[in-house]
């Protein structure tokens, strides 16, 4: 009796938040996607999306997101694994996390200097005899900086999964005659896939929608879905087309979430990182 009274009083502001800031915005995006610049109802935005320009953009956006996720995983998994082996592992983990708390803009800005024509990276290249290279405004710089930004978010869930792994299982596997590689492939990896999946989820979705890094580091040469949305909303002021791209991004987001959804019983249970 008491509980139900409490419930009805407490839910009001929270319910209002859900209606106004979760449901209404999605509905508005869908609604706006059916209007053109002049405010007429139309399906033209959707027709436009399936033209070669936007399809190419979507494919290249997925390709970059894939590259970013792949390299993040490639670097993050061994790092997380080795971290669980260190003595003060939670302290080391904290040290890995600290850079992710530094304002994203500042880190990106640092790379403008680091990768610039007179920056230390080019000085190094010159010293080894390769000579000055244009590093900024290339695919390489874009992927590198994005991987740099996302690595802590990939390490965190994998670390949590590895940390929960029962070491007796590894001992058992070794005792039963499996070598390190087999132990990793048959025991460690399968038991940590949920961590990997959450890692992929928190990297891939944001990687699809990056727009600040594309502007500052890739010099407008790379257009992701996020960049396209920003362009339509804030530069071209074509909210209809922007909303249409956003609708597709939301659809992709749900598909990725379904694919990377971990099974309940798995070893991973991470706080979500955005």
């Amino acid at each position: 009796m008491n509980k139900s009274r409490l419930r009805s009083i407490y839910s009001i502001p929270y319910t209002a938040w859900i209606l106004l800031f979760v449901l209404a915005p999605i509905a508005l995006i869908v609604y706006y996607s059916f209007f053109d610049l002049a405010g007429n109802f139309t399906l033209a935005n959707y027709r436009n999306f399936f033209t070669s320009v936007y399809l190419k953009l979507t494919i290249s956006s997925f390709w970059y997101a894939f590259l970013i996720t792949f390299f993040s995983l490639l670097i993050a998994y061994p790092t997380a694994y080795l971290l669980t082996k260190t003595k003060h592992k939670h302290l080391w983990l904290l040290l890995i996390i600290i850079p992710s708390w530094i304002n994203l803009l500042l880190k990106t800005y640092a790379f403008i200097g680091l990768m610039g024509l007179y920056g230390p990276l080019n000085a190094f290249l010159e010293a080894v005899g390769i000579g000055k290279q244009q590093i900024l405004f290339t695919d390489f710089s874009f992927v590198f900086v994005s991987v740099y930004i996302f690595i802590p978010f990939m390490i965190l869930p994998i670390f949590n999964a590895l940390d929960k792994l029962n070491p007796a299982l590894i001992d058992a596997s070794r005792d039963l005659g499996a070598d390190s590689w087999t132990t990793f492939r048959r025991v460690i990896w399968p038991l940590t896939t949920n961590g990997v999946k959450s890692g992929i989820q928190v990297v891939f979705i944001p990687a699809l929608s990056l727009f600040m890094i594309t502007r500052l580091i890739a010099g407008n040469k790379i257009i992701t879905l996020g960049t396209a949305i920003e362009q339509q909303f804030l530069v071209t002021q074509n909210w209809g087309m922007g909303s249409t791209i956003a609708v597709f991004l939301i659809v992709f987001m749900f598909i990725i979430m379904l694919v990377t959804k971990g099974k309940e019983k798995g070893a991973s249970d991470n706080g979500k990182a955005r």
């Binding site: 890995i96 850079p99 708390w101 304002n103 790379f111 680091l114 990182a273 955005r274």
Partner: protein, 266 residues
């Protein structure tokens, strides 16, 4: 615990160097009397002085802090209320549905949140500026507070509430003297993350901020687009110190409560 070999140690060292190099690089050149981030000429504090002399910049910093504190405070309040509402829900299906709705804003890309809030504010006629930025920050911080508070609530033994009621406590007493004290660590963790979400946000603010109003992230973005300015470096030195202090603070709370160390938004 086995000891790490040489190669693994080298690997970890390289990862750490790469993670920290850009940050220290920024701070190092903040003391450069030369103009750019390549030739270090002489040690100077002049860029730090420039930060404190720049009235516009100071106002932007203050705006950012005010927005962060207000939004963290309000989102924590609403988030705690939301967590309580979810906790008291009997219907399991309903509960799961609300939880999924709660998580939508946490997985949505910032661009989507920014764009949809922009439409929303224009439609209901909120003027773009301080109010719109504050409201959006409150809105996207609420779910993380709920996520931080809920586990604490489910940890709580329900007989505590029953006992309090049996002993004659009013509902208000139950709330203020049993439930809230018990979930306090979760509330703190939520407040903290809301604070960092707000301080760190760029994309959403970029969409909903009008012409006259700016936060630090947006300001750094527009400064960085025009090229290198060592004032930004000095600013990042200051921000680094504040961030480390915040992290240590969060870690202290975290150790006491054993909450999972959740990440920060990108």
């Amino acid at each position: 615990m086995e000891r790490l070999g040489k190669l693994p140690k080298l690997y970890l060292t390289i990862v750490f160097i790469i993670l920290y190099a850009p940050i220290f690089y920024l701070i190092f050149y903040s003391f450069n009397s030369g103009g750019g981030m390549s030739n270090f000429e002489e040690f100077t504090w002049e860029h730090y002085a420039a930060v404190f002399e720049d009235k516009r910049l100071i106002i932007i910093v203050l705006n950012t802090i005010i927005i962060a504190l207000l939004s963290a405070l309000l989102s924590t309040t609403i988030g705690v209320i939301g967590a309580l509402a979810i906790y008291f829900m009997r219907n399991k299906k309903m509960r799961n549905a609300v939880l999924s709705l709660n998580n939508i804003l946490m997985v949505s890309p910032d661009v989507i949140i920014g764009a949809s809030f922009l439409i929303l504010f224009t439609m209901i006629g909120v003027k773009l500026g301080f109010a719109s930025v504050l409201i959006s920050h409150i809105a996207f911080s609420i779910p993380i507070v709920v996520i931080m508070v809920l586990p604490k609530l489910s940890e709580m033994n329900t007989s505590l509430i029953d006992a309090a009621l049996d002993l004659g406590a009013s509902r208000k007493d139950v709330m203020t003297r049993v439930i809230l004290p018990f979930i306090k660590p979760g509330i703190f963790a939520g407040f903290f993350l809301a604070l960092t979400y707000s301080l760190d946000d760029f994309a959403v603010t970029f969409f909903v901020t009008g012409n006259g109003f700016s936060t630090l992230s947006v300001e750094i973005y527009s400064m960085a687009r025009t090229g290198i300015s060592l004032t930004i470096n000095a600013l990042s030195g200051l921000i680094f110190i504040v961030t480390v202090a915040l992290v240590i603070g969060y870690y202290a709370i975290n150790r006491k409560t054993k909450m999972p160390l959740a990440g920060v938004k990108k």
